[in-house]
Amino acid sequence: MISLEKRLAPSTSASILSPIIAITLTIICGLLMIQAAGKSPSEAFDVYFLFPFNDINTYLKTAPEDRGGLLYQPAEVLVKAIPLALIGIGLAIAFRAGLFNIGAPGQYILGAIFAGGVALHVPEDLSRFIVLPLCLIAGALGGLLWALIPAFLRVRTGANEILTSLMLTYVAALLLDWIVRGPWKDPAGFGFPQTPDFPESAIMPIMLEGTRLHWGLALVLIIFAVLWFILSRTVTGFRFTVTGLAPKAAHFAGFNQRGTVYLVFLISGALAGLAGAIEATSTIGQLQPEISAEYGFAAIIVAFLGRLHPVGILLAAVVLAITYIGGENAQISLGLPKNATLVFQGMLLLFLLACDALIHYRLRWRTRRRA
C-alpha cells in the first residue's frame, strides 16, 4: 500500500518537478482519450501543442518579404495569455496569503463592464492617451470594487470568501448579460446582445502588424516586474507569505489580518478587472456576454501551474493559452468539440494537485499492518 508521510520541510525540487510531471501525464491521458474518441492522437498533439512552434519555424525559414501573417497564431497565444496571466497572478497573491479569490472571473467581468462604460460614454474626439488609460483604470476599479464585497463580508461577518465570491461571479455574468441586452444594447446590432463598438480612442493599439497582438502585453510585463519586486523584495510580499503559512505568526509579526484580507482582495480584484478591461478594449472592442465565458476558471490553473511565482505564471499563462488556441484549431481541423480543451485543462489541474502532494509528503510503500 502507498501511504503519504509528511516531510520535515517542503521539497523545492518536487515543487518544480510537479508541473512538469503533471503536463506530461495530461498530454498522455488526453491523447488517449482523443484516440478513444476516434481521432488521431499524433495529429491532435500537433494541432494542440506544436502549432505555435511549427509556425515560428516556418516563419524563420521563410523569406522576409513572404512572412506576412505567419506569426498570427503564435501572437494569438500571447493575446490569450495576457488576461490569463493577469488574473492568475492576482489569484496567486491571494493564495500566498491563504485566501481563495475564486470569484476572479466575476471581477474580470466587472472590469470589462466598467471599461466599456467609460469607452461608450466619453466624447468621441477625446485623445486615445486619455481615453484608453481611463478605460483601464475604470476596469481595475470595477474589479476592485467587486472584490471588495467578499473581502468586506469575510472581515465583518466571517462569511466564507470562497462561497460569496463564487456567487458574485454568477451575479456579474448576469449583470453583463442584462447590460448588453438592455441599457447599453447596440441599436444597430440587429438584435444581437452586444454594445456598440468602442470608439477608436478606446482601443488598444496593435503591437505587431499582421496579428492581433496589442500593447497590453507590454503593460502586463511592466505589471509583472512590479509585482515580482513587491512579492520578493518588500515587506508586503513577505506579509502575504507569512499570513498564508502561519496566520498566528503573521499576527505576532504585526501584520493585521483584516488589512491583509482587504489588500489581497483589492490587488487581486484590480488585476482581474484590468484583465477584463484589456480584453474588452483590445480583441473584442465591445461588450458581449461571451466575455464572461471566455476564461472561466482557467486562471486558477495558471496560478497553480505557475507555482504562485510571477515568472512561473507567465509561462503557465502561455501554456494554457496554447491549449485554448489549439482547441480552436482542433475544432476546425479535427472536428473535436469546443469543450475538448477543457479535458486537458481539467486533467492538468487534477494531476497538478495530486503531484503537489509530493511537495509536502513523501510516498512510502508500506506493507499491510494486519498479519
Binding site: L8, L245, A246, K248, A249
Partner: protein, 621 residues
Amino acid sequence: MGQNAGGKGGVTGSHGDAPLFEARGISKSFGDVAANKNISLKVHSGEILALLGENGAGKSTFVKMTDGVLRPDSGAFFWNGKQITIKSPAAAKRIGIGMIFQHFSSFEALTVLENLALALPQRSLRAIRRDVAEVSERYGLSINPKRRVERLSAGEKQRVEIVRALLQKPKLLILDEPTSVLTPQEADGLFATLDSLAADGMAMIYISHRLNEIKELCDSATILRHGEVVGSCDPRSTSVPEIAEMMIGKTADPIDRAGAYVGGPRLVVDNLSVPAKEGVSLKKISFSARRGEIMGIAGIAGEGQDTLFAALSGERRTPKAKSIKIDDQPIGAMGPTSRRRKGIAFAPEQRLGHAAIADFSLSDNLRLTRHAMREFSNRKRRAQSLKIREDYDVRSSANDPKAGTLSGGNLQKFVIGRELDRQPDVFIVAQPTWGVDAGAASSIRNKLLSVAERGGTVVVISQDLDEIFQIADRVAVLHRGELSLTHLVDDMTPDKIGMLMSGEDINSVSKDAIAQNFTRKRATRITETQEETSPAETRITDEQVKDPTQREAPASVVQTPQPAISPVITSSSMTSSITPPPSKPASQPSQKSTPARRIFVSGNVSTPWTAPEIIQKGTVL
C-alpha cells in the same frame, strides 16, 4: 498508601486484599528524556487516590499508559492482583478503566445524546437514554440529553464526560485535571458526585495540582516530580505546605547570587481586562516590571497566559490604551510593530507557527520581528542570523536551515536570540524553556539574567516554578485570568506559590502590589551544569551592577521615598526588602520557608500577615 483509604462513608476497599489497580515500576522514556521513572502506585475500590505533580512531572505520560495510548518501556500494571497489558483505549475500557480528560473530546454541533451514542457504538439509543437518566439521577449529574454540546457550560460538558465514562461501567475512573475549567461552584458539584461514586465502591485516580481540592477530596496521595514518585501521604493529615513542598521540591535555588540594582518601574500594567476570543479572559490585571529585574508570572497551564501574552505583545489590543504603559506612555492601543519600535521584544510560547515559521529559513524568520525596525538585504539578514546562531549556540548542520528542521531547544535559542540580539529594553517571554533540554534551558536562563543585569526589564510568563525561583526577582501568579499580588521571590516558598496557584490569596492587602526600589540578591548566572557552581567566579559587586542602571533610571523615580505601611515582619527574608543590602547568604531555602509554613497551617481562612512590600498606591507609579 492504601492504609488510609477509608475516609468517608465506610465503603472502602478491604485493605488486606490486592488493590483493584496497581502499577509496579512503570518507566517510559521519549528519546533521552525519561518521562516516567519506576512509578509504583496502588488504588483500592472506593478509594480516591490523588496523583500530584507540577506540569511536566510525568502525570500525563502515566495517564496515557493507563489508557493504552502509550505502552510502558518497563514495569507492569495489575488488576485485582493479575497482571494486565493495556493495548488500546478500547482495551482499557474493556478492563474497566474509564478516563475523563481535561479537554473534552466532544462534538460541539451534536447533542449530548448523540455524543454519548458515538462513544458507545454497541448500545442502542434507547438504552443509552435510559442509562443516562439513571446515572444522572443517582449521582446528581443533571444533563439534558437533547441539548447541543456547544450550548453547554464547561461544567455541564464535564458532566457529560463523566456520564459517558460511567455508562461504560468502569471500576476505576481516572480524572485528569477535572476542575481546571470549572467554576468553584461547579467544582463543588463535581466533588459531591465523586464522593458518592467512591461510596459506591468506585476507585479513582484524581490528577491535579490544586492542593486544597486534594485535601478536601482524596483519601491518599502519590506525588510525582521529574517523572518519579517522591512520596505519598494522607492528604487529610498532611498540611498543604508539606504536600506542596513534596510536589515542587526544594527549589533549584540560584547558586550564585550577587547584589543587583533594580530601578524604577518601566512596564506598568494597570487594571488590564481583556475578554478572551478563545481561552481565558483577563480580569483587572495589575503589575509592574522594573529596570534591571525579572518579573515572573507563574500559574498552571491555561489560566490566561495566552491572553496575557497577546495583550502584552499587541496581538490583542487592550480595550483601554492606558492599561499598559511603557515609561509612562500608554501602549495598549498599539500593535506589535509599534511596540517593537518602543524597544519591547517578545517571544511567545509556541515556537513553530507563532514565534517562527517552519517552512522559512532562519534568516527569513529573522525578518518576522525585524521588518518593523529596518529592512535588511537578504545577504545582511543571513549574516545577522549567522551571528545570532553563533552567539546563542544554535546548532544545525545546514547553512541557513529551515526552522522546522531544528530541534526544539535550538529553535528556542534562536527565537530568544533573535529578540535579545536587538538589545531590547523590555523583553516579554512566555515559557522560555518549555520542552527544551537542560543545557539549552540554562543557557536561555542565563541570557535572560544578563538582560536584567544590563538594566533591561524581563517579564517571564512561566509554568515552571523552578524557573521562576531560579531567575525571577518578583513573582505574581495567574489564576483564572486574575493576577495575584506581586511578591518578592525571596519571600515565596513553594507552599505559598501553591496556594496562589489554586486561587487563594496569601494576604488580603490592597490590590496593588507596588514596586519599590530595593537592592537584593539575585541570580546573575546559572552554570550550564545547573546545580553547582563556585560562588567566587560569578559574583558581581553592587557597584558594578548599580552603575549602568542608575544612569538610565529617571532620578525622580529612583529617589521617591518609600513609605511602607505597617511593616509586620513575619519572615526573616522579608527584611531584605526593607533594610537594603546584603546580610543574607546565598541559597538557604529551608530557612525562609519555615516560619511561613507555620502561618499557613494555622489558618488558611484569611491571611495572617501584611506584606511589607506594599506601599501606598501611586507613590511610584
